[in-house]
């Protein structure tokens, strides 16, 4: 039977625990510097793109371990397009946004068609985009600007993807932020308790009450601490709203909808999926269309954060997204993986990045550590699965 034990809880949440331990470790090693409001904010802002692209990559990987190598270059390309439209051609902001999304949809549709219907292996089809969009983006930027970068974006465009909501001065307590934090914490508690109550009522196996309370206390603490930190640094970053929105929407899609189930099934066994009436090609098509649209969002977020579009934007973003998924326990063969897992994976890498940077450790060493963490996560995953099988 599905027994509840401390060991199982630890085993299931090993990445979350690793994240907390590593965060505390870096907080100590940096003399508390890691835990200051401004560093908490910058952790979110710096890694925003990983969460957004990680979600898109998760959807691709679910369909059978497929990846998209073109996202980093496409971020650069879309930044250039947005810059040309908004800054050079003075297209108004709503129309700029519509146009960039349209470009994203067109690319996604072409890519999806090549992969799903012409059956070109994803890594080859997207390798082409990886090469071409970097070149295209750079050429566009060079042709319109001497510095091969476009800045001076209109503030209303930047405001949609960067800055704070209800901004207050640094060091003062931002009231709306605290209020939203409390509402968020209350919502989490309500969801935890009502989920358990529902299970108990219907006689399903439910976690012990003590565990649910403990889990809720921990989650409330994290949310309130985060809210306080953000409140002391001027308020909630706009990107956090985008991140939460994307995570919640895709969390629901993957966990609760038939569409999510179709993605998992195609990755689990494509032939079974086909004979069960699932349109495999459409699923693959959607995965890559979706990836391109999310890449547009990531591109706008990155452009807004720097206030400029430049030719080296988005470098290695595809690798960051893939790494977040892998560390977060998404199967490299498809068929299993969760949004929450990916989030933990992305946060883990983000924390390592920031912590080591704050300790002034050389970039090369950071890369070595990240590589080791990636490998360790996969090895751990495989070993723990082997252990389960033997029982």
């Amino acid at each position: 039977m599905n027994t509840f034990s401390i060991k199982n809880v630890l085993k299931k949440n090993v990445m979350t625990i690793a994240l907390i331990v590593i965060y505390v470790f870096f907080t100590i090693m940096t003399g508390g510097n890691m835990f200051t409001p401004s560093n908490v904010t910058s952790l979110i802002e710096q890694n925003a793109y990983v969460f957004i692209l990680g979600v898109g990559m998760l959807m691709c990987m679910l369909t059978g371990g497929n990846i998209d190598l073109s996202v980093g270059s496409f971020v650069c390309f879309m930044g250039a397009i947005a810059g040309v439209l908004s800054v050079i051609k003075h297209v108004n902001t709503p129309l700029t946004l519509i146009l960039v999304v349209v470009v994203g949809v067109i690319y996604g549709a072409i890519l999806g068609f090549l992969i799903a219907y012409l059956r070109i292996p994803p890594w080859i089809a997207t390798l082409a985009g990886y090469l071409a969009f970097r070149g295209l983006g750079t050429q566009i930027l060079i042709s319109v600007s001497d510095t091969s970068a476009i800045s001076n974006f209109p503030p209303e465009l930047l405001g949609i993807f960067s800055g704070r909501i209800f901004e207050s001065a640094w060091g003062t307590l931002n009231i709306p932020c605290i209020v939203l934090g409390v509402i968020g914490a209350a919502a989490v508690v309500y969801i935890n308790i009502s989920t358990r109550a529902n299970k108990v009522k219907k006689g399903y196996q439910a976690d012990p009450l003590g565990f649910v309370i403990g889990k809720s206390v921990l989650e409330v603490a994290v949310i309130l601490i985060l809210a306080y930190q953000l409140a002391m640094d001027g308020g909630i970053p706009v990107v956090l709203i985008w991140i939460i929105a994307v995570l919640v929407i895709y969390g629901i899609i993957t966990e609760k909808t038939t569409i999510g189930r179709h993605f998992m099934t195609v990755g689990g066994n494509a032939e079974t999926a086909r004979l069960s009436g699932i349109n495999n090609k459409l699923v693959m098509f959607c995965a890559y269309l979706n990836m391109a649209v999310l890449t547009v969002l990531a591109s706008l977020i990155v452009t807004a954060r720097f206030g400029s579009a430049n030719s080296f934007a988005g470098q290695n973003f595809e690798m960051d997204a893939i790494a977040a998924c892998i560390v977060g326990g998404v199967s490299a063969y498809g068929g299993s993986g969760t949004v929450m897992g990916m989030v933990i994976g992305a946060a883990l890498i983000g924390v390592i990045n920031q912590g080591m940077s704050l300790m002034s450790i050389d970039q090369d060493w950071i890369k070595i550590v990240k590589g080791a963490v990636l490998l360790a996560a996969v090895v751990f995953d495989i070993l723990s699965k082997k252990g389960n099988k033997r029982q």
Partner: protein
Amino acid sequence: MAKVLLEMKSITKTFPGVKALDNVNLQVEEGEIHALVGENGAGKSTLMNVLSGIYPYGTYEGDIVYDGEVCEFHNIKDSEKKGIVIIHQELALIPYMTIGENMFLGNEQGSKWCIDWNKTYAEADKYLEMVGLEDSSKTLIKDIGTGKQQLVEIAKALAKHAKLLILDEPTSSLNETDSRALLDLMKKLKSEGMTMIIISHKLNEVSYVADKITVVRDGSTIETMDAKTEDISESRIIKGMVGREITDRFPKRHDVPIGDIMMEVRNWTVYHPEFAERKVVDDVSINVRAGEVVGIYGLMGAGRTELAMSIFGRSYGIGISGTLILRGEHVVLKSPKQAIAAGLAYVTEDRKGNGLVLTNSIKTNTTLANLNAISKGSFIDKDKEYLVAEDYVQKLKTKTPSVEQLVGNLSGGNQQKVLLAKWMFADPDVLILDEPTRGIDVGAKYEIYCIINDLAKAGKSVIVISSELPEVIGMSDRIYIMNQAKIVGEMKASEATQENIMACIVKSGSEA
């Protein structure tokens, strides 16, 4: 009395929580064919894995005495050095390599650094001749049929200088002709002094080939029968396997009214998807009525699966022509999705390959073909899903701790039940069951037959495709016989015997 070649004494093997083998004793004499029979999960394969060193010395208790000495095998290489070679159920040949390359894989001929290809192929041809395979050793594996591939496996074993050959379900993927050829080859090898252990579910084959039969049940050896002195009929073996006598292997259907024609296929022709000029289904016309169980008997490769899959939303083949009439109306089904919506279900013969998602739970597999029934809009009602899965587990008596169990962890019979549950939940009018009892044990077979009867009772039309004659005759109301892409006969089950069905096939073969 011949010399005892192998003796396994008091073998006990425990996995965490389960005693897979409990004090097992097995004696094999030199030059005999010894059959191991038992239900799935009884411990036959575990025993052979102990013998061949897959479970190394030290992980089990008891002794293996081989050729007069106690052996401590730490891996397969150790046992192969002694001449114990195991041929697994799933063929382990590499399709894009030649027969010769496959035969000497890991045992390459020539010097340490350089393979001597002339020697490889010469040696290979020598062993191929011994097993009676006429193809050149330079043929690619993918270009020969499974029957010949099985012969290559045996040749490969001979090339390793095998003295004791273990064959795990050697005929499970072969048709009757190839099976017979293989069994005859075993007899020939025996006459040349080879000792063999065969694991098989096909009891008629066991009776045909074995000198001794050891029955394994629940991790223990129950009895050993000697063909020379005892009755080794199928019913006698079954009695030993299940611990009771199954008087009726096929449950009877009582008073099931047979209604109107539910589905009819006329002049159905299908071409091979890769070899576009090859007809795999040739002008086939069949029908099935409500409440009726129709059997389609044919040897493997006769076109049965191709027929079923092409009807099921054209999921196989190209250039499909013919008419499909469902409930009296012409329909055109272009995808499995449309076929499911029209009330068809195809329960595949290959449950692991294209029937189930092994890494998913029983729950998600059960609802897969009819997700809409448990969803509001796009949102899955997980409570409902749980209840549906639970309901089918109870109805079909699937053995599992919970519906959250991964299907990959279930035994073959229970996997088959989940597969049936999946398609029953899709609520079809016509179910096409392709080899519904392949590779599952006698007890589970009986339960599957009961489910088929229940479906017929509920007014469904059931088509059972099978290459087991007793099954087709025992379960069907009416039987179609298929051979070489064509329907070559149709008869009522009451008139059918194994002899006149085989006669149909032989007759059609001689006409062609």
